[in-house]
Structures are given as structure tokens and as C-alpha cells.
């Protein structure tokens, strides 16, 4: 019997992506071991599964993050949450995921195992299976440790029609919790910024929360405000639905430490990314029931109604500021460069 690979001290080398024995061994002892499910164990180049008749959704997301490990998560959990959330934002139940790894030569196998374990745990918590995968190795200096692509499929229950173009004038905008946590956590740990408290990423799978929400009311739009933050998400929906939005700064949950960090950094939290939050738009009469359901869920304890959908030919997203002004929350043009003089 061949000897096991040395995960504790070993490094990724080019043979791990060569298609030979070393690769097979890595797959067997790392990926199959931790992802642990029957479909994967079949050992085929594809996963075979049956589904009921109905509407499916499919989504893919590549994950490139520095640092790979950050307070509140790592690239592994993030890569599962990202795709699970993209699927869930259609109201679907995520079923299966694929995982593609691009590893850099010399990357520590111990760290890779930590990432894989974290992915497995995230998938389990999200009630999905990672059923197929791929591994490539690039030469030293041509990658950033590890990149992970995930792809997923899910089933949309009958009667659910959630889309960015469904916002109607008079609808209510609900946010599931505090903004900016992920972006600030990543930046402060990457750049080693010494803030007084450690800010944790909010990275989480939202499919269970969504499953409960779609049971209580007809939800018009759902979106997770990731890159570009809440501001970008609201502008996207306003544009897709040809409406305007009016939100209130005072109603938007934000953690004190995130707010403080944003002030130091000069970042507008409205544009900072999140990985475990969602924006829900539904009819005003349904808002109470939806909000109540959300508040009972551990991932939306701070959910709040932050504004409403209004008629506006310019599709402006406007915000009543804490100082009593009405400000346009626009698309971000390239970087956040100061405009005032």
C-alpha cells in the first residue's frame, strides 16, 4: 500500500495537478475525505443525480481573496456561501455544488486542508453537497495561494417569482442586518490595520433564511449586497425595475466598530461589500410578516425596514441622511475618489 501524503508538512507541487498518482492521492485523501458524499465517491468525472420536474437555477462564482483566512471565515467557507447565496436569491433551494481549485506551487497542504474542512462544514450547514470538482496547479508566483471556483444548481419551488425587475412602487425595502462587516474585516486583516476591536466578516449561507421568508409572503426581489455594497444593489434593482428608492440612513443597521473603521478609512459603508446579508423587497402589506420571520432567524436578528420603492423616472436611489438632508446614493464611478473640493 502506498504511503499517505504528508498533509501536516507537505506543500503543493506541480505533480498535484498533473493528472497522475499524486493528484489522485490528493483528491482522495483531502477532497473526497472531507466533502464526504456518495455522489463524489462514485469517482466519475461528473456527478449523476436525479431531480424532480420544475425550474432550476444555476450560478457560478470565482473566489479570489486576500488574506485566505480572515476573522469570521476563510476562502473555503466564502466560496460555498457565495454560490449558495446567489442560488438562494432566486428563492431556490440549493442542491449541489462543484468546486474547482487553482493551487499555487508551494502552497501549504495543511492550510489547504483547513480550507477544505471549512468548505465541507459550510456546505453541510447550508444543506448542500459538493459533488464534483477539479484541481489545477500553477507555478510558483502565478497564483495567490489558492483560487476557488464554485458552481451550483438549485430548484425553485412552484409559485415563487423573484427577480430584480419585480420591485413595484409602494414596496418596502428590508435589509437583513448590519452592513460593511465583510469588506472592513477583509481590508483590516489584509492590510494589518490596527483597529481597537477585531471586526468579523458576516460570511454566511442565507438559504435557510430565504426558505423561511418565501413561505410567509410573495417576495418581489432578493439580492445579496456583495461587491459594491448596499448602494450598488439598490441601484441595480432600481434600474432593472425602472423605479426609484428612498432609504433612511438612520434605519440602516451598522455596527459601531464598522462605522468607526469606515470613518478612519474614509469609506462609505453603503459601498462596502457584505457576504451574509440580503435585501428583500416586498409589498408593504407583507412587510410585517416577512420582517417577523427574519427577526426570528439567527442570521437576520438586526433586520430592519430601511426604505421604500417610489416612482422616479431617473431611477434615483435617495437617502434621508442623519443630518436631515436628501442625498443621491449613486453608482460608484470607478474608485471612491473625493469629488468635492
Amino acid at each position: 500500500m502506498r504511503s499517505s501524503i504528508d498533509i501536516k508538512n507537505g506543500k503543493v507541487d506541480l505533480s498535484h495537478g498533473s493528472g497522475g498518482r499524486a493528484m489522485a492521492q490528493l483528491i482522495e485523501e483531502l477532497f473526497v475525505k472531507h466533502f464526504d458524499n456518495e455522489l463524489l465517491k462514485q469517482g466519475n468525472d461528473q456527478a449523476l443525480f436525479s431531480v424532480e420536474a420544475g425550474r432550476m437555477v444555476m450560478s457560478t462564482d470565482s473566489h479570489v481573496v486576500s488574506p485566505l483566512f480572515f476573522p469570521g471565515g476563510d476562502i473555503g467557507s466564502l466560496s460555498v456561501h457565495g454560490t449558495v447565496n446567489d442560488i438562494a436569491m432566486s428563492g431556490a433551494k440549493p442542491l449541489y455544488l462543484s468546486a474547482g481549485f487553482i493551487l499555487e506551487e508551494g502552497f501549504s497542504l495543511a492550510e489547504l486542508e483547513k480550507i477544505v474542512i471549512s468548505m465541507a462544514a459550510a456546505a453541510k450547514l447550508a444543506d448542500t453537497l459538493i459533488v464534483t470538482g477539479d484541481t489545477k496547479v500553477v507555478e510558483r508566483g502565478k497564483g495567490d495561494g489558492v483560487f476557488i471556483n464554485t458552481c451550483g444548481v438549485g430548484m425553485v419551488p412552484t409559485g415563487i417569482n423573484i427577480s430584480g425587475n419585480n420591485a413595484r412602487v409602494g414596496d418596502v425595502v428590508i435589509l437583513s442586518g448590519s452592513i460593511g462587516d465583510h469588506g472592513v474585516a477583509i481590508m483590516s486583516s489584509r492590510e494589518n490595520l490596527q483597529f481597537e476591536t477585531t471586526i468579523k466578516s458576516d460570511s454566511a449561507a442565507l438559504n435557510d433564511l430565504v426558505a423561511r421568508m418565501v413561505m410567509v409572503a410573495d417576495i418581489h426581489c432578493l439580492r445579496d449586497p456583495t461587491r459594491g455594497g448596499l448602494a450598488t444593489t439598490l441601484n441595480e434593482i432600481a434600474g432593472q425595475s425602472s423605479v426609484g428608492m428612498k432609504i433612511e440612513e438612520n434605519k440602516i443597521p451598522i455596527k459601531a466598530e464598522v462605522k468607526a473603521a469606515c470613518e478612519i478609512l474614509g469609506l462609505d459603508p453603503l459601498y462596502v461589500g457584505n457576504e451574509g446579508k440580503l435585501v428583500c423587497i416586498c409589498a408593504a402589506e407583507d412587510a410585517g410578516a416577512v420582517l417577523k420571520t427574519m427577526l426570528q432567524h439567527s442570521l437576520a436578528k438586526d433586520a430592519a425596514i430601511i426604505g421604500k420603492v417610489i416612482a422616479d423616472e431617473n431611477n434615483f436611489v435617495q437617502m434621508a441622511t442623519a443630518f436631515g438632508g436628501q442625498r443621491i446614493v449613486d453608482w460608484l464611478a470607478s474608485e471612491q475618489l473625493p469629488r468635492i473640493c
Binding site: L193, Q194, G266, G324, I328, P338, R339, C341
Partner: protein
């Protein structure tokens, strides 16, 4: 004004006279009618799309005198751009002189006038108990009254204004129809029988029933109340400026905690009691635009809350009959600040005012004439015996600027303007029309107003853009909207560098022709997008209209936290110290100084990392940030600036006291040459300031020396560059040149070197004047 008078013709006594410019709705035809009668001429006058046309017959000498009178003494609101004469060989059409109906075809060229303060004749009427307009607050005539503020579209006829709903009574109609009358075709003509009315409401929207609304309003002001008063271009919030309680309440209610309040006094005599009024300033106050004029305050006390910092105060005179009647019986000036909360645009609609001002005001003084176009009060200051426009709006917009001849082009250009003090500009037929001050485009109401005004101006000036001009800064909402317009209408878009635009605006205002030799310019402002994505703001540029080359600049320094560095002056102070020195070393060396004690309370470690790693800490050669840094080190709004430019304003105020005494005590600076580029390095200045602070020198002295250093360094570099480039004309522009000390000092020194110095006067030197460039 351009006169193209043809030579006198000997053989024929008939002339066709074409007058172009702002000549409609200003009493021009009655003026011509009177004049023609005076010179015993026959013929007729009429309006058309190109202005006014006169056909006139008579004695040659009389004819020439007639034409001279037109050009030399036109009616007060008229602005003649050109008079062209040609010979008429036909016989006179009439036995006398007549005003005939307007002839309209499709090509509109005539110009809309700006709103104007009540004229002497109207004032006399409202104060004459026997006159039918006694105490009537909407009295106006062709020489004064509302214009741009009430117009919806051209032609400027009553039906296209918010006076449309007031049907003239027979007496007013008669005035309107009578050629010799001052109210002949006065589109806003009205009286108490047929015109708008005023009424008072309390904050709960209950109407106060009184016989004399104005008398009651005066009493309410005397009893320390705040009243929201609807005026020409918007609402004002008004209270007794001598009463601290009233003014402090207004500050609290408005959420305006720092900027001075504008004042209105009933006459210049009263203003003189509170401020020094020079002759230029007196002229500016009395001018028909009735702008706010920034004056130097005297000892006589107003409520302390009127102006919390410095002794500059802004005064204006009453410009509507309502204001005149209201102030007549008050023994002190009133605060007359825009009717808005904090940085919102001022309200123009009654219901909007009820909703938004309810928590600020005690009473409302409404009227029922709609304000169509919001017009803020204009603001003017006199520096170096020259007028400087700080905000250009009511009373000046939409006056046009005749561009130098070489600008006669077929292309119509729409310039979108800046972000924060936006105004936009239309260029057509060699004329530039700069809109009134619009404001901060990030504000929702202002943004809507911007789009509304763009459409209105296009209509008023029969304008259709071929080219859209935008600032380099793609984050400006004006740039983004320009891109959107260009895309949807398939127009050419041209991007102009911010500081180049400032220079071109100044050149255009001064009538420099196209192809003029390059000028050397110092453009100092808070921030503008430079070339290659760099942020500029302390620039020395060699510029023509078409091209601009950077020759020197302030040392670029990081702005840690980007926009946050604009709000918090200490960040710039830290960034400068970190750049020029080893921060820890300099802190230990000067540890007793307040600034270092202050900085120790701040998160310097992350800030230092941000600067080192270029995290949201863009480099900028800004002069505004330079002022922030030096204000901060002297303890002026170190933590937070309450409004744009506050740090620089406070530093200027502090420096003013010792400015003359310290004129020979500038600190040192270094001019470094880096790859054909001069860089102003301020390390020696920093050391000197820190030393003087340690020696506990009076801070006024230090502030004055800092100003002198900037002036000396600027003059030094400008002279050096002007010798190298053989230029003699120097343009000074950018918002920093609202600093009186700096502008006066640099101008005087450059003039001593024999340089010709140009600065903007009619258009703002700040971003409000950007669009013209």
C-alpha cells in the same frame, strides 16, 4: 457692448436699426417711442426674434443723435450687445412714430433678463398714500421686478410666466397697452385689485387674520419671532439680527452651526452703522442685482450668533417692495438667510415650505405667485478695488457673456459644470450663458433642479447641444449626466481638465481672443481631477484655450481617508508631518504643542498604514488641503470642518490682524526641480511654524507669516516661470483666491514686476465659474 454704427449717409434720411441683446421686456420700445418723438422722427419699432427693429426717418443730425442716445442711455434693464444700421431707401411708413406688433418667426435670438431690485419710481409709488399701488408688495414695471424667477418658456409673455393666472384689471391693462407708459408690455404688471396677495400663517398653518399683513409681520419680527418669507427666487428665514435669542434659535433650527448669516438692512445708512462700506461696495449694494456684499464689520454689535467667526458680514438691500415695506419700520437689520434646512436647497413652493420649515420658523409670510426657477441670493466681495463674485445667481443670471469674436462658431456647446457649486453653461453664436448657482448635485432636490434648469435654459435660448463638455472627474454627477446625455442623443463629448477650465473661464471673461499667446496661471483650489488620474489643486500652468501644460505644483501629499481628509483638517496635518519628517521624532521634539497632544487621541497607526499602503489615501497637490494642515496646527477646526473651506477662512481671519505688520517676515520654502517640473516643498515652512509655536508666538503672527510664505513662494515661482516662458499675463484662479490677503498680496507683487494679472470678477473664481471654461 459692440456698436456697429454705419457712417452717416448724406443723401437719404431713412434708417433701419437693428438692436440685439437684452432688449425685450425691459421697456425698450416705449423708450424708443419717447426718443423718436423727442427727435421728431417718423417710423416704427417692433420686437422680433433677433431683438428690436427700428425703421426711422428724419433729419440726419437728429437721426444720429437718436442712435447715440440709444447706445448711451438705454433703459436700466436693457443690455445692448450690438446696434447695426442700414440705409432705408423707401418712404416713411407712418406720419408719426408707432410701436407695432411683434413679428415672430422661428429663430429665437432675444435674451431673457435677470430679476431686478425695485426701481425708484416703483418705490415712490408704494410709499405714496395717494397712489393706487400704495403699500402693494408686488409693484413692478419694465425697469424692475421678477423675470427669470417667473418664466416657464419664451417668448417672455405673461402667459408664459407664473403671472398668467392673474388677469389684469382694466387699469393695469390700460398701462400695459399704452406705449408711453412705464408699464407698457410689463408682463408682470399688477396691482392690489388683480395681482398676487400675501398672507400670514403660524407654524400650524393657521391663517392669521389681520388687516395689515406687513405691519403684523414687522411686529412679529420685533417680538423675536422667526418668519419664513417667500421672496423672488425662494424662501428666506428672517429674524431680528440684533436679538441673540432669535438668531441663536434660527441657527439651532436650521442646523447651521458655523457659517455667517446674511443680513438685510433698509438702507445704506443703516449698513454703515454695522460695517465699512467703500465706494465700490456701495455701488455693488445699490446695483439692481441687490446681491449680498461681504463687508468688514465695525464695532457696533449685532447678535453674536450672526457671525461666529471673524468680523466679515454680508449685507444686502431690500429688492422687492415686500422687503422694503417690511424693513421700513425696523430700527435694525434682519437676518435674511435662505429658507432651508442645513445644506438643502431653499424652498420655493408654499407647501414645500410648510413641510420643511415648520420646525425652524414661527410664522410664514406667503404669497400666491409661483416661483418657477429657484434663484439664490448672489454674493459679491470687493478685493483690490475689483468686484469678485462668490455666488452668481439672482440678479445676474441669465445675463450673457459676449465671447471674443474668434469664438463665432457653428457648434453649440453645453458645459455640465462641477459637482459641489454647480452651474452649467451654454455656448451659442459667440455668446456664453452661465446658469445661476445650482448647488450640490449630490442633493436630490438640487439634482432635479439641475435637470429642470438644463431643459429650461435650452428652451429659453433656443439651444440644441452639438457638443457636451464635462470635467475630467468621472465621479462628478454632472460628468455622469453629461455622458448619459451624450449617449442618448448621440452627441460628441469632450472632457476638460478642471484647472484648465478655471483658466479658460477667466480668459473668456476678460475677452482674450482665441489663439491668444499662452498665459501663465496659478490655480489654487481644494481639488480637481488632473491628468492621469492625479488629484490637483496647487498648480502652475501654462495655458491657451486649447492646451494646458503643467509647469509646477505643490508637493503632492496623501489625503488619508480620501473625502474624510476634506472634512477633518488634522488628517492633512498628520499626512504633511509624516511626509516631511519622521513623525515620531518630530512629535518628541515638539511634544508640548497642542497639535501633537491632539493627534495622540487619533488612530494614527491605521492612518500611517493607509498612507504607506496607499489605501484610500490618494496623493494630492491641493492648496486647500495645505490650508487645512496649517489651520489644524494652529488649532483652527483641527478636528472637523463645519463647511467647505472653513479651515482656510479661519486661517485668513486669524492672519488678517497681523498681516501688514508681518509683511517682511515670510518663512522659508523650497522650490525643487524634478524632471522639468517645479515642486513647492514646505518642509522649511513646517519647521519654522513648529518653532514659532514652541516659542509661543502669537498665532495671528504665525498665520500672517504662513500667508506671506505662500504669497512669496507663488510669486517667486510665477516670476521664474514667466521668464522662462516669456509670458506677461498671469491668471489667478481657483476657490483659494477668495482669500483676500493672498489675492491682494500676490496681485500687488506681480504688478510690481510689471505683470498683467487677471482674475475672475463677473463669474465666480470657485467651481461656480467652472462651466464657462
Amino acid at each position: 457692448m459692440v456698436n456697429r454704427l454705419s457712417g452717416t449717409t448724406v443723401s437719404n434720411h431713412g434708417k433701419a436699426i437693428r438692436v440685439r441683446g437684452t432688449v425685450q421686456g425691459v421697456g425698450f420700445r416705449p423708450f424708443i417711442w419717447h426718443l423718436a418723438r423727442q427727435y421728431q422722427l417718423k417710423g416704427s419699432v417692433w420686437n422680433d426674434e433677433q431683438g428690436v427693429m427700428i425703421h426711422v426717418w428724419g433729419d440726419v443730425e437728429q437721426l444720429n443723435a437718436f442712435i447715440q442716445q440709444i447706445s448711451q442711455h438705454p433703459p436700466p434693464l436693457a443690455k445692448i450687445l450690438s446696434i447695426e444700421c442700414s440705409v432705408l431707401n423707401s418712404r416713411p411708413e407712418y406720419d408719426n412714430f408707432q410701436i407695432v406688433n411683434s413679428r415672430q418667426n422661428s429663430h429665437v435670438q432675444t435674451l431673457i433678463t435677470a430679476d431686478a431690485a425695485t426701481c425708484q419710481e416703483c418705490l415712490a409709488e408704494i410709499n405714496d398714500p395717494l397712489d393706487r399701488r400704495y403699500h402693494y408688495p408686488f409693484t413692478n414695471c419694465t425697469h424692475c421686478g421678477p423675470r427669470l424667477s417667473i418664466i416657464k418658456q419664451i417668448p417672455y409673455d405673461r402667459c408664459n410666466t407664473s403671472m398668467a393666472e392673474f388677469l389684469m384689471c382694466p387699469v393695469c391693462q390700460q398701462e400695459y397697452d399704452e406705449p408711453g407708459n412705464r408699464r407698457f408690455h410689463a408682463q408682470a404688471n399688477c396691482c392690489a385689485d388683480c395681482g398676487p396677495t400675501i398672507w400670514l400663517e403660524d407654524r400650524d398653518n393657521k391663517i392669521i387674520e389681520v388687516d395689515d399683513v406687513i405691519k403684523k409681520a414687522t411686529e412679529l419680527i420685533q417680538r423675536r419671532n422667526i418668519i419664513a418669507i417667500k421672496g423672488i427666487g425662494g424662501f428666506h428665514l428672517v429674524c431680528d439680527a440684533s436679538n441673540e435669542t432669535a438668531v441663536a434659535n434660527l441657527r439651532q433650527g436650521k442646523g447651521r452651526y458655523a457659517k455667517p448669516f446674511a443680513l438685510m438692512a433698509k438702507n445704506i445708512t443703516m449698513i454703515r452703522a454695522y460695517a465699512q462700506v467703500g465706494s465700490m461696495e456701495e455701488q455693488a449694494l445699490a446695483y439692481k442685482a441687490a446681491a449680498i456684499v461681504i463687508l468688514s464689520g465695525t464695532k457696533k454689535k449685532l447678535a453674536q450668533s450672526v457671525s461666529l467667526e471673524g468680523d466679515s458680514i454680508g449685507f444686502m438691500l431690500p429688492y422687492t417692495p415686500l422687503h422694503s415695506l417690511l424693513l421700513q419700520n425696523l430700527a435694525y437689520p434682519v437676518v435674511m438667510t435662505s429658507g432651508n434646512f442645513s445644506d438643502e436647497p431653499q424652498c420655493i413652493d408654499n407647501q414645500q415650505a410648510r413641510d420643511k420649515l415648520q420646525n425652524i420658523t414661527d410664522y410664514f409670510l406667503f404669497h400666491n405667485r409661483f416661483i418657477i426657477n429657484r434663484l439664490d441670493d448672489s454674493v459679491i466681495r470687493v478685493i483690490n478695488d475689483k468686484k469678485q463674485t462668490i455666488r452668481r445667481a439672482r440678479g445676474f443670471s441669465p445675463e450673457v457673456l459676449q465671447l471674443p469674436k474668434s469664438f463665432q462658431t457653428q457648434r453649440q456647446i453645453l458645459a455640465m459644470g462641477a459637482e459641489l457649486k454647480n452651474s452649467f453653461c451654454l455656448i451659442k453664436d459667440g455668446l456664453a450663458v452661465v446658469s445661476q448657482h445650482i448647488g450640490d448635485l449630490e442633493n436630490v432636490s438640487t439634482q432635479r433642479d439641475y435637470r429642470h434648469q438644463l431643459i429650461l435654459y435650452e428652451q429659453l435660448f433656443d439651444f440644441k447641444a452639438d457638443v457636451i463638455a464635462v470635467d475630467h472627474h468621472t465621479g462628478y454627477l454632472s460628468t455622469q449626466y453629461g455622458q448619459q446625455l451624450a449617449q442618448t442623443q448621440a452627441l460628441t463629448i469632450e472632457s476638460v481638465q478642471h484647472h484648465h477650465a478655471h483658466i479658460a473661464a477667466c480668459m473668456g471673461e476678460h475677452g482674450l481672443p482665441l489663439g491668444t499667446p499662452p498665459v501663465l496661471a496659478a490655480v489654487f483650489d481644494g481639488l480637481g481631477m488632473g491628468e492621469e488620474g492625479q488629484l490637483w489643486g496647487g498648480e502652475f500652468l501654462l495655458s491657451e484655450y486649447s492646451e494646458c501644460r503643467r509647469l509646477g505644483h505643490f508637493q503632492p501629499i496623501a489625503m488619508p481617508g480620501g473625502v474624510q481628509a476634506i472634512h477633518e483638517p488634522w488628517r492633512n496635518c498628520f499626512a504633511q508631518l509624516e511626509f516631511y519628517f519622521d513623525y515620531e521624532q518630530i512629535r518628541q521634539q515638539y511634544s508640548d504643542l497642542e497639535i501633537f497632544q491632539f493627534l495622540e487621541t487619533k488612530p494614527l497607526a491605521p492612518l500611517s498604514t493607509m498612507i504607506a499602503k496607499n489605501l484610500n489615501s490618494p496623493l494630492s497637490s491641493s492648496c486647500g488641503r495645505w490650508f487645512d494642515a496649517f489651520a489644524a496646527v494652529l488649532g483652527l477646526c483641527t478636528g472637523q470642518a463645519a463647511y467647505e473651506g472653513q479651515a482656510a477662512c479661519l486661517l485668513e481671519t486669524l492672519a488678517a490682524k497681523e498681516f501688514i505688520n508681518e509683511r517682511n517676515n515670510a518663512y522659508s520654502y523650497a522650490v525643487l526641480k524634478q524632471q522639468n517640473m517645479y515642486v513647492l516643498n514646505w518642509k522649511p515652512l513646517w519647521l519654522a511654524v513648529l518653532n514659532d509655536l514652541r516659542d509661543q508666538l502669537n498665532k495671528s503672527v504665525i498665520a500672517a507669516r504662513i500667508h506671506h510664505t505662500l504669497a512669496a513662494a507663488s510669486v517667486d515661482l510665477i516670476i521664474k516661470l514667466s521668464e522662462q516662458t516669456a509670458t506677461n499675463t498671469i491668471v489667478l484662479s481657483g476657490g483659494v483666491f477668495q482669500n483676500r490677503l493672498l489675492l491682494e498680496s500676490i496681485t500687488q507683487q506681480l504688478e510690481q514686476y510689471g505683470k498683467k494679472v487677471l482674475t475672475a470678477q463677473v463669474y465666480p473664481v470657485n467651481d461656480g465659474g467652472l462651466a464657462l471654461g
